[in-house]
């Protein structure tokens, strides 16, 4: 047993570090650090995306023939880890990490040739149409229907929690093409252009005052038949592939550990009100230490998965725990941050963005201003992409055989 990286991997790490050091501008770092929502706004990600695209390091999840960098699982992990430590902005995952790999795997040559380069260049910005008002945890009960009429699908219904639909020009959606078939079997995976009169987008503001998600309505919206991915009725299989693709190795712990380091640094600056700073407050420091143990253990869990993948073996069953564990550590970190900043941690700015010249002046520090919006938005970590309750039910059944 051995937890270290090979000399080659360490050399690659240096290359990544040098690149990040040179290319992450103060504006990009600030944009990433001062985003309390889960997704970073396109005004920041656009620039970072084009820098990475130029280097050929953008579509890390794609096969090399479509523009992926051809990295090993270990290299992907190292890249993600270094990005997290350096504070790089999160990329728009919907195109790059969700629909992109799906098109690589299930798309026709024409679909690949058309869509993939446009994802890389940023010309297309994608959103996801999965959940519906009546279909959340029970996604397969979705009702939005697409009826084939000549060379088009006509789409009617509504999607909810469509992240960045207000920025997107394309949506990949699960739609019901066969109302007669059994629940999962009547579902198809359809790409739909957003810029048309049949689609309207209504903002949903979170309790943190962020506009990140929307309700998206389809009223005789149209999409050409060549925008169907795979076959009619194959949508559920594709959606499952997309989720499994997400499980092809993860790198969540380094960002959590970096966040704990930041909290420790802030605690040195934050007055305790009695004598000295909060880094001498036994309660806060105990919570910090406890979370560090959790995050460090979690880091090794991720590395155990990585080791399997690096050997070409399938990821082990512990992959099913990744989302659950990381979401809960993250929420505990957010709570600790809010508690660290005492009254300053209770400010909740109503305007956005919280970076650049338009940002409202913070009371105390910028970090304190971000604490509560981040905490409130972060309550969604245990809800989206399969709530904790749904995740545990799946793990109980599929992993534990209960």
């Amino acid at each position: 047993m051995d937890m270290s990286f090979s000399a080659e991997d360490l050399a690659f790490r240096e290359e990544v570090r040098d690149f990040l050091e040179a290319k992450l501008s103060p504006r990009l770092r600030e944009g990433a650090a001062c985003t309390p929502s889960v997704f970073v706004e396109p005004d920041i990600t656009r620039d970072w995306q084009s820098i990475l695209n130029e280097k050929g390091w953008l579509a890390t999840m794609w096969p090399q023939e479509y523009g992926g960098p051809g990295w090993t699982a270990t290299q992907k992990y190292i890249f993600e880890k270094e990005c997290a430590i350096a504070g790089a902005p999160a990329l728009p995952v919907l195109g790059l990490k969700l629909v992109g790999p799906v098109i690589c795997k299930f798309g026709t040559p024409a679909q690949k040739a058309h869509f993939l380069p446009r994802i890389l260049s940023g010309e297309d910005y994608w959103c996801q149409g999965y959940s519906e008002p009546g279909a959340g945890s029970d996604l397969a009960s979705l009702k939005t229907k697409a009826e084939r009429k000549g060379d088009k699908y006509v789409v009617n219904g509504s999607k909810i929690w469509t992240t960045h639909a207000h920025h997107a020009n394309w949506i990949f959606a699960l739609v019901r093409t066969n109302p007669e078939a059994k629940k999962q079997e009547g579902i198809s995976f359809l790409l739909i252009p957003m810029d048309q009169p049949g689609i309207s987008v209504t903002p949903i503001v979170t309790m943190a005052n962020d506009h990140e998600v929307n309700a998206t309505f389809f009223d005789n919206a149209e999409s050409r038949v060549e925008n169907l991915i795979g076959e009619e009725g194959q949508g559920w299989t594709i959606a499952k592939y997309l989720l499994e693709n997400e499980r092809g190795g993860s790198c969540a712990a380094p960002a959590l550990l970096a966040e704990l380091d930041r909290i420790e640094a802030w605690a040195k600056e934050e007055p305790s009100g009695v004598n000295g700073a909060m880094d001498h407050d036994p309660i806060l420091m105990q919570r910090l230490a406890r979370l560090r143990m959790e995050a460090q253990a979690f880091e090794i869990t991720e590395l155990r998965i990585l080791a399997e993948l690096a050997k070409g073996r399938p990821a082990g069953p512990q992959t099913s725990l990744i989302k659950l564990v990381s979401a809960n550590i993250r929420q505990s970190i957010d709570e600790l941050t809010v508690d660290l900043f005492a009254y300053d941690g209770l400010q909740l700015p109503t305007s956005r963005p919280l970076y650049g010249n338009e940002a409202p002046e913070p009371v105390g520090s910028r970090e304190a201003q971000l604490a509560l919006p981040t905490y409130l938005n972060g309550r969604a970590w245990t809800i989206f992409g399969g709530s904790d309750e749904v995740q545990k039910t799946i793990i109980a059944k599929q992993v534990l055989g209960l």
Binding site: S137, T206, L284, Y343, L346, T350, A380, I383, S387, E389
Partner: protein, 345 residues
């Protein structure tokens, strides 16, 4: 032994319920966008109902309500998710300003008074340090002045030769600068800066401040209990009606057990509140800390069980959690409150 509300307390509760009933979440959001963060006409209405006067002594022209009477009002306002700063600008000033000439206008609702106590770097301490009075001039900066965006009158804690004293300063006074900023519950707090603002004699010192803060801690606990019970009730109704996988969420055992846990916490904090109210020599800070910790958990669970909808500002759920979060930290957070209790024991 009797835990029933008496006739007057029932009247107060009903009166608050009627006051809160017409305000739905959308109206609440609109009120938050008003100048100062709430509707002053509704504040006058609250005063006319005697619900500010209840906090003031009879000798001050108030109704002289007991701590229990007042906690019934606070809990009902919590359950109603009222935006009006009853606790910050009603109860607390009524306790601080007793025996002064300012109290009549506070009771009538004409004057909105608030306590300016927090200082940068002071964390949760009540001691005034950076803000001081010398030669009748007040100088320094206060932060987290609740309802500071709307207040007409500041009750300012200030250091006088090493001791904390309370001074009264009108917002309109020369040398008073108010910079409002939004806080967790959507209200407008403020950073207030004093530059040679003229003050007359102090209205009291640490003893008055400490005793008013302790009484207010009970009211904060009561309001959090009300909020938590409201969130419990809404969540229970939601899991009974929201269907997924062909049945109401409440049919799933994981949801049933969670709801029982929430119910159990709600009952526990109601009991803790009664104990704090009815027991003499109660440790208000510890009671408030314990109730805060459980109420936060209830609020978080209410969000979780509402799923994505719980994340939005369109339901009462998030509004309740945010008010709980604010109250949980005012005059000390759960950790500091429980640590203080351990030290005192």
């Amino acid at each position: 032994m009797n835990f029933d509300l008496d006739e007057n307390q029932t009247l107060f509760r009903d009166s608050v319920e009627r006051f809160c009933a017409p305000v739905d979440v959308a109206t609440r959001t609109k009120m938050r966008r008003m100048d100062g963060g709430f509707d002053r006409a509704r504040w006058s209405e609250l005063a006319d109902l005697g619900l500010i006067g209840i906090a003031a002594d009879e000798s001050d022209g108030g109704l002289g309500g007991s701590i229990l009477d007042n906690s019934v009002v606070a809990q009902s306002l919590g359950a109603g998710l009222a935006v009006e700063p009853w606790l910050e600008c009603g109860f607390l000033p009524a306790r601080l300003l007793t025996g002064t000439s300012y109290i009549a206008d506070v009771i009538s609702g004409e004057c909105l008074a608030t306590l300016a106590f927090a200082e940068r770097g002071g964390r949760y301490t009540l001691d005034a340090r950076a803000v001081s009075v010398r030669n009748g001039k007040l100088n320094g900066e206060k932060t987290f002045v609740l309802a500071g965006g709307a207040a007409d009158l500041f009750i300012v804690s200030a250091n006088v030769d090493g001791a904390t004293k309370l001074f009264v300063v009108p917002r309109s006074a020369v040398g008073v600068d108010v910079r409002p900023y939004p806080v967790a519950d959507g209200s407008l707090a403020a950073v207030v800066t004093f530059r040679d603002a003229a003050v007359s004699d102090p209205i009291g010192g640490m003893e008055r401040l400490q005793s008013a803060v302790d009484e207010t801690r009970i009211m904060m606990a009561a309001e959090m209990v009300g909020c938590a019970q409201r969130l419990f009730k809404e969540t229970l109704a939601y899991v009974k009606t929201r269907e997924q996988f062909g049945q109401p969420l409440g049919r799933f055992q994981v949801i049933q057990h969670r709801m029982v846990d929430i119910y159990s916490k709600c009952e526990a904090i109601q009991s803790a509140l009664y104990r704090a109210v009815l027991q003499s020599n109660t440790n208000a800070e510890a009671a408030k800390a314990y109730i805060a910790e459980e109420a936060i958990w209830v609020g978080q669970q209410a969000v979780q069980l509402h799923g994505g909808m719980g994340m939005t500002d369109e339901l009462a759920i998030g509004h309740g959690l945010k008010r709980i979060l604010l109250l949980s930290k005012l005059f000390g957070d759960p950790a500091s409150g429980i640590a203080q209790f351990a030290k005192a024991a």
